[in-house]
Amino acid sequence: MARKTTQTRKALTTVAAWSIGFLIFFPILWTVLMSFHSEGDAIKGPFAMLASPWTFESYGEVQHRSNYALHFWNSVVISFGSTLAALVIAIPAAWAMAFVPGRRTKDLLMWMLSTKMMPSVGVLIPMYLMFRDFGLLDTRSGLVAVLTLINLPIVVWMLYTYFKEIPGEILEAARMDGASLRSEILHVLTPMAVPGIASTVLLNVILAWNEAFWTLQLTTSDAAPLTQFIASYSSPEGLFYAKLSAASTMAIAPILILGWFSQKQLVRGLTFGAVK
């Protein structure tokens, strides 16, 4: 009897969870479906569209018009490059804050986070002028630098919350054994922090991949990532739903797939010290 109720209950919750999951996912699914139909069919309404013939023509057209490989590669370089650079700067900082906290550590951390609240649009013109003067316009290195700084506070904070969870006694023990600061970080701390670092990397790659203000403003062609690729398909003259869908699918697919495959690591990383 009891077993039966739990089974029924499980069935009901399963149905509920799947329905909600499907609803949340539906906009993405619909975009993918629409990308496989012709422009004329895409606006006919849901059932008429699904019944109409499937075609790759939108993908063909997008492929023909844009250099997808270049934009994709730029996105990869920029998002991974900026994340790694941020990591290099953030690991020592987070280590120090976690294990040698001072009176001002918390304020420092909060201040770092508050720099993210600055509206980017407000400083565009000064940034553009600086980029021009340093010859950084339309370069991947320029964008990597900007996105490193944008994500740095989040990286520092995420790492800080991990490092704090590492028991101090282990470090004490290592220190007793005469380990230097360098080897303390390298051999004791880093292995323990690997899961945390992995999830930090993932989250920041996602944030950098999707950053759509600086990437659009500071690049033109050579360094333009996928955000710019999308901007050439939004609202042109004429029907554009199918082509926009195809371009959108191509822009989000890589990060979506990466996210899905690594979701276990990501989930661990998204705690931000919220779990205690």
Partner: protein, 435 residues
């Protein structure tokens, strides 16, 4: 790894000189409109003729493009060698000395062949600062089958009263047929292009000769009242978000009786994506008997920023893209109806092009627009659907938002005009026009 990189760098240094001579890359910023996309497909011809020039395209949505190009040229960022800009930007930027004069394009390019109304809008102090790629005015596109069903005929030069009568007769909301589709999306190049041009035919103007904003005057009230009446009674739902594209999709799918918009739309509504291609008629933009019609004038043009390092290559490209030969190339590959319209007199003299149904109406519309005398009363500015001052982009968009709100019903017409007047006075005072 390091060795490879170093080897590559070395190779680069050696060939760098040779590279610069043998292949020059120019960056062309353009808008993602159909005619420009088509040009990208025809680049083989250019590459064959000029193997030493590589063209890199930056194709963007109009608003993003305009903003990027403006930021770049005003800060002298130097990211582009050829810019796609419109009739609004050219005189302002030309006057600032931001563009190279194109007076020295080769003789066979034939500057004298350009339509005078179009070329006039791109010339400052005798210098042609941009080469027109395609030109457009606005006109009435209507459904001949629906007009016939309603027992009406469209005059070749209708009045606004004719338009209203036709809209009322064709509207059939149960079957999703809306008598008239007009722009409602806020933006100086969206609803304000239409409304400013329309207001000219109602005797309204943006500024009087002392640069005093005129939104508190009767002609603007009449214009807006007429527009709102048309759109709320005979227009499609969601019109306050409809720009050129949205209306095009509506018209192509058979949901509009009439559409007053850019002449370039003609090739789309009679093209392969259109379900009503067989039943489209054309007429001049309407008037009110005051001597001005509600049509605008615009030309997407190619300009070269001053300070480019690749002047010669950029000029070669501009000359190719706006030449008579390019028109012939498009005609040979895609048919005469797809040729970029509205720039050259020779195109309209071509008997083959004259068979295109919208050719004559496009030319008549372009010729009837007068950017230097756009309004019934004299005004201190140039421009039919815009005011050629730097402040207009922001101003036009801000006013457009108010009028769009009136269309959405979140404001009354009077509130919207009062808000438009107030913000225009503030901006113009701030910019020093009003002392």
């Amino acid at each position: 790894m390091t060795i490879t990189v170093r080897a590559l760098l070395g190779a680069c240094a050696v060939t760098a000189l040779g590279c610069a001579v043998s292949a020059e890359t120019i960056t062309v910023a353009t808008v993602n409109n159909g005619d420009m996309i088509r040009m990208q497909g025809l680049m083989e011809d250019f590459n064959a003729k000029h193997p030493d020039i590589t063209v890199e395209w930056v194709t963007l949505e109009e608003n993003v493009l305009r903003q990027k190009v403006t930021t770049d040229i005003a800060t002298k960022g130097g990211q582009f060698d050829v810019l796609t800009i419109g009739t609004y930007e050219v005189p302002i930027w030309g006057k600032q000395g931001w563009l190279l004069s194109l007076n020295d394009l080769p003789a066979e390019w034939d500057a004298a062949d350009l339509l005078p109304a179009i070329a006039g809008g791109l010339t400052v102090d005798g210098n042609l600062y941009a080469a027109p790629f395609y030109g457009e005015s606005s006109m009435v596109m209507y459904r001949t089958d629906l007009m016939e069903k309603a027992g009406l005929t469209m005059p070749e030069a209708p009045t606004w009263a004719d338009i209203k009568a036709a809209a009322a007769a064709m509207t059939d909301k149960d079957n999703e047929i809306y008598g008239i589709c007009l722009r409602g999306k806020a933006g100086w190049g969206e609803n304000m292009a239409f409304l400013t041009a329309m207001s000219n035919s109602f005797g309204a103007k943006w500024f009087d000769e002392a640069w005093t904003p005129q939104f508190d005057q009767q002609p603007w009230k009449d214009t807006l009242a007429f527009y709102l009446d048309l759109m709320t009674n005979y227009g499609p739902p969601g019109a306050s978000n409809n720009g050129f594209n949205e209306n095009l999709a509506l018209f192509q799918s058979g949901k509009c009786g009439m559409w007053i918009d850019a002449t370039v739309a003609a090739s789309f509504v009679t093209g392969k994506d259109s379900t009503v291609a067989e039943h489209v008629g054309f007429a001049l933009a309407p008037d009110n008997g005051l001597g001005k019609r509600g049509n605008w004038l615009w030309a997407w043009s190619l300009a070269i920023p001053a300070g480019t390092q690749k002047e010669a290559a950029a000029k070669t490209f501009v000359a190719w893209a706006t030449s008579k030969e390019y028109l012939a190339l498009v005609a040979a590959k895609e048919g005469w109806a797809n040729v970029p319209p509205g720039t050259r007199a020779s195109l309209y003299a071509n008997p083959e092009y004259q068979t295109v149904p919208f050719a004559k109406m496009t030319l008549d519309s372009i010729n009837s627009a007068d950017p230097t005398h756009p309004t019934v009363d004299p005004v201190p500015y140039v421009g039919v659907q815009f005011v050629a001052i730097p402040e207009f982009q922001g101003l036009g968009t801000a006013v457009g938002q108010q009028l769009s709100a009136a269309l959405a019903g979140t404001m009354t017409a009077d509130e919207a005009l009062a808000a438009a007047q107030a913000l225009t006075v503030t901006e113009m005072t701030k910019a020093g026009y009003i002392k």
